[in-house]
């Protein structure tokens, strides 16, 4: 339900950067979404197609790169991806760790012409 304001924000970031780069048209937009952030790709594209007509980004394709949650073990430093109810470090067996990936939510780059 919060994808509409988020999509408005993406469109604003994209059109500002496209204008700055002197672009005539935005072809595609790369967005990075971590597993722990609460945003749904299809819904963002849906709103984007409604909001973008008449802007530099009209018709642009959104490419979403999903980032899995990643822990760094606090005991031995091993990095690993937790799976479901398995949060044990594969190296030393400690539970959990510092979250080092999975919270991303940013526009990475745009392709323009």
């Amino acid at each position: 339900m919060h994808e509409l304001p988020v999509t408005e924000s993406i469109l604003k970031i994209v059109t500002e950067h496209a204008a700055e780069a002197g672009a005539k048209k935005v072809m595609s937009i790369d967005v990075v979404i971590g597993e722990l952030s609460s945003f749904i790709d299809d819904t963002i594209q849906f709103y984007f197609d409604i909001l973008s007509p008449g802007t530099l980004a009209e018709g642009a394709k959104l490419n979403f790169k999903r980032i899995n949650t990643r822990f760094r073990c606090r005991k031995c430093g091993q990095e690993f991806e937790p799976e479901g109810q398995n949060w044990l470090c594969p190296n030393c067996g400690a539970l959990g760790g510092d979250v080092i990936a999975g919270k991303e939510f940013y526009v990475d780059s745009i392709e323009v012409e």
């Binding site: 339900m1 919060h2 304001p5 988020v6 924000s9 993406i10 604003k12 970031i13 994209v14 950067h17 496209a18 780069a21 672009a23 072809m27 967005v31 722990l36 952030s37 609460s38 945003f39 949650t69 606090r74 937790p82 479901g84 109810q85 949060w87 539970l95 959990g96 760790g97 979250v99 919270k103 939510f105 940013y106 526009v107 990475d108 780059s109 745009i110 392709e111 323009v112 012409e113």
Partner: protein, 235 residues
């Protein structure tokens, strides 16, 4: 392929290419606008020496009941104010208002979380000079509120005993993000299969520094640990 190699491809233009398409690096946080509004809220609250607590949990885990018990426990010394966030209705704000505590209700109209601009508007509707401890009761939801900074001083997650001890596996984001976790409805512990030790282990696996407090706002059991935490964390 190493990242450096990718980077070279992305930034060096091939002079022989007929293709006019170019890639422009952006790398900008999509929630920037919210984060800026949150920073303004934070500054505004600091100027008024207000400690703001963002309370997040599922619907029905006892946020409003805990607030009512907290207002009662802290009495006039609390100088408490409340912002109530709900999708619809004034039910919660009406309950708080009965205690003569300043309160503002935000209705998100379907929105699943509070954001910083909503809290900004609410701040202007409160007598900030009379408030020292501001509770912001977020919309009941374990997922979305976590992504939106409100400008709070501290974040609290509530989880009630009937919800089960395995919630950190399902919703790791909230337990990783908060400063303290409060287990509510502790009076139901004898009737439920809530494994408190397992729950604490999971929370601390994600967030080793967050204390896990256990209380019942109904019986008053454990309320002292929560009030103590608040006293230690207010300006």
């Amino acid at each position: 392929m190493c990242e450096g190699h990718d980077h070279t491809h992305a930034t060096v233009q091939n002079p022989l290419s007929e293709n006019k398409d170019r890639r422009v690096p952006v790398v900008q946080n999509i929630l920037n606008a919210n984060d800026r509004a949150a920073a303004e809220n934070r500054q505004h609250l600091e100027e008024h020496n207000i400690t703001a607590i963002n309370i997040m949990s599922s619907p029905g885990s006892g946020k409003t009941t805990l607030l009512m018990a907290t207002i009662k426990a802290m009495g006039e010394n609390g100088s408490i104010g409340v912002i109530e966030g709900d999708v619809a209705s004034q039910v919660d704000a009406d309950k708080i208002a009965e205690t003569q505590t300043p309160v503002v209700q935000i209705n998100t109209g379907g929105g699943c979380h509070l954001d910083a601009p909503m809290v900004h508007s609410a701040l202007h509707a409160l007598p900030l000079d009379e408030i020292k401890l501001l509770f912001i009761e977020n919309v009941g939801n374990l997922i979305c509120p976590v992504s939106f900074d409100l400008g709070q001083s501290w974040k609290v997650a509530l989880i009630s005993v009937p919800e089960g001890h395995d919630k950190p596996y399902k919703y790791p984001g909230i337990f990783e993000a908060v400063d303290v976790v409060v287990v509510t409805k502790a009076d139901l512990m004898p009737y439920m299969d809530f494994e408190l030790d397992t729950f604490k282990e999971l929370v601390h696996g994600l967030n080793p520094n967050a204390p896990v407090l256990v209380l019942s706002a109904k019986t008053g059991e454990g309320m002292d640990s929560w009030v103590k935490w608040l006293e230690e964390h207010r300006v």
